[in-house]
């Protein structure tokens, strides 16, 4: 299947990436090339095959749901682009 400019804009919106008209046109060509090439998987018969989800065939480990690290507020906030005391800040969401 082939993506039209509206589909490219919809995907960019879902991915939270701003795109301009020139980029939409370029991405449309590139993404359709990639998806066209991926379509070769249609040749493969996967009837009755269980999907492989992980990189390892071993089961996931469970652990106790407990706090394992001390208070790291300062370390965690040390890379914030903008902060106010112990809070991250973002542009106003509610008018």
């Amino acid at each position: 299947m082939s993506l039209d400019p509206a589909a490219i804009r919809r995907i960019a919106r879902l991915a939270r990436i701003r795109v301009d008209d020139a980029q939409v046109q370029q991405m449309q060509g590139e993404l359709n090339t990639i998806l066209g090439w991926i379509d070769q998987l249609n040749e493969v018969d996967v009837t009755g095959i269980e999907p492989l989800t992980g990189g390892a065939t071993m089961a996931m480990r469970l652990r106790e749901d407990a706090v394992t690290v001390p208070d790291l507020t300062e370390a965690v906030l040390s890379n914030a682009p903008d902060r106010d005391g112990p809070f991250y800040t973002v542009p106003k969401v509610v008018e």
Partner: protein, 490 residues
């Protein structure tokens, strides 16, 4: 001094014939001299390196040492290093200074290693040429005979491989999601191993595709890789996919030899249009192993040709999810916007490069409502078939031998017209990640232009020892002594 292998330098340090400060000072000088040409490092840390070196000399003076005491290394700029900027070669992480150390680099520091700096890579490890770095391309220290055309070092661990080949690091950390350790190792004439998925902790490694990503070393010899992997590997409770399996003596396995081993040759790896020199080198590699006492067995991996297409669904899907965290709020760069959504969209439009955006877009699409079953679920099923091919082959053989890449290093700017052409570079390496297996690239010969070519050894899960044994046998037989034209000497 620059011709010493890691194992040899380690012996000289322990015998007190060489001090860690002397070795580190020499390497820092070589970095300063050659990095402007190669761009193998994004960040250099000379003061930190000398602090590490002096601590190493102090332990050596007390008669104490770890596995890597005093050994100067480059760290791929995908590993979080406490207090040292970690960029993933992306503008979006350019301001990021981690307040913590990744498990792999913490293991290396525990064993006494010296960190020279952070090595360049493709942005978020997405690429096969190191051309996608926001900090500029890396130049391969090798040149075609009689030509000055700058060549790519491969990717994504291009800075790590170029630094080791040019002797501006004695070894380096790297990561491999679809070939990012093995292909640059082959392009730069050095060794590199992607261990079994779960062997090295992913904690503190910037995530690309979590079910495929694995850390591993690149170094000038197979034994050096074995020494480094022994230090990097090990169970870590902080990574839920870390394997709780003892780390064997990988270096000892290098001396085992291949007598009695069965080596598989997958017929599907003989591709149309593959350079005749690569096919010839592959046959030569099989002959070397036969001469050393191995038995060669033909095997079939029928789903090999679908590995790449499967990868280009699974990896972008996981990447689109992993990279959702770069939102301009918690860390990394922010671009202003009138409201929250516009701030996100501007931050991500300005912060990510073209290849990263392409992969996020593909991943977002294949996971979106209505397309999930057709793409993502289908890819996971084909992935199961790829694993089954390998599992069946390993009932008949102990390891597989293949070429590492379908060509030698290419020119900077080549293969850039169409993303799929670049993706085809990883055709021999990607299936190994899909199945979570260990794969080692060993430099085994040169092409007609004098560029290095690698052979890949693939093993059973958690059987890196056999992989090292076969790789070391190839290395001994190949007697690879060629050197890149740009390198530190003296």
């Amino acid at each position: 001094m620059f011709e010493l292998s890691l194992a040899e330098a380690r012996a000289a340090l322990r015998a007190r014939k060489l001090s860690a400060r002397e070795l580190t000072t020499a390497y820092l000088g070589a970095v300063e001299q050659l990095n402007p040409q190669l761009n193998a490092y994004i960040t250099t840390t000379p003061e930190l390196a000398l602090t590490h070196a002096d601590a190493a000399d102090a332990s050596l003076a007390r008669g104490e040492h770890g596995a890597l005491t005093g050994i100067p290394l480059a760290i791929k700029d995908l590993f979080a290093t406490k207090g040292v900027r970690t960029t993933a070669a992306s503008k979006i992480l350019a301001p990021f200074i981690p307040p913590y150390e990744s498990t792999v680099t913490a293991n290396l520091l525990r064993d006494g290693a010296v960190f020279l700096g952070k090595a360049n890579l493709d942005e978020f490890a997405m690429g096969s040429s190191n051309m996608t770095s926001a900090f500029g391309a890396v130049t391969n220290p090798w040149k075609r005979a009689g030509s000055n055309t700058p060549l790519v070092p491969g990717g994504s661990s291009g800075g790590s491989a170029a630094a080791v080949a040019a002797r501006i690091a004695l070894g380096a950390t790297a990561t491999d999601t679809g070939g990012s350790i093995r292909q640059p190792a082959a392009f730069c004439g050095i060794a590199g191993i992607k261990p079994t998925y779960g062997r090295c902790s992913r904690w503190g490694v910037v995530a690309f595709a979590s079910s495929l990503d694995q850390a591993g070393p690149v170094a000038r010899t197979v034994e050096d890789c074995a020494i480094l992997l022994g230090s990097m590997a090990g169970f870590d409770a902080k990574d839920s996919t870390s394997a709780d399996i003892a780390v064997p003596d990988f270096a000892a396995a290098c001396a085992r030899g291949v007598k009695g081993l069965r080596i598989g040759v997958p017929k599907e790896y003989r591709m149309d249009g593959m350079a005749p020199e690569i096919d010839a080198l592959w046959q030569q590699g099989l002959a070397w192993l036969r001469d050393a006492g191995a038995t060669i067995v033909d095997v079939s991996l029928p789903h090999t040709k679908y590995g790449l297409a499967t990868y280009y669904i699974v990896a972008p899907a996981e990447a689109s999810s992993n990279l959702a965290r770069y939102d301009g709020v918690r860390y990394g760069a922010r671009s202003p916007g009138r409201d929250l959504i516009e701030m996100y969209e501007n931050t991500r439009a300005d912060g990510f490069g073209a290849e990263v955006k392409r992969r996020i877009m593909i991943g977002t699409y294949v996971l979106s409502a209505g397309y999930y079953d057709a793409y993502y679920l289908k890819a996971q099923k084909v992935r199961a078939l790829i694993l089954r091919d390998f599992t069946e082959a390993f009932e008949k053989v102990d390891a597989l031998l293949t070429p590492t890449a379908p060509s030698a290093a290419f020119g900077q700017g080549e293969k850039m017209d169409d993303p799929v052409t670049m993706y085809l570079n990883d055709i021999f390496t990607v299936p190994v990640n899909m199945a979570g297996l260990p794969g080692l690239s060993v430099p085994a010969g040169l092409d007609a232009a004098g560029l290095p070519l690698g052979l890949q050894i693939i093993g059973r899960p958690f059987d890196e020892e056999t992989v090292f044994a076969v790789g070391a046998a190839i290395e001994r037989a190949a007697g690879f002594t060629a050197r890149p034209s740009i390198r530190a000497e003296g």
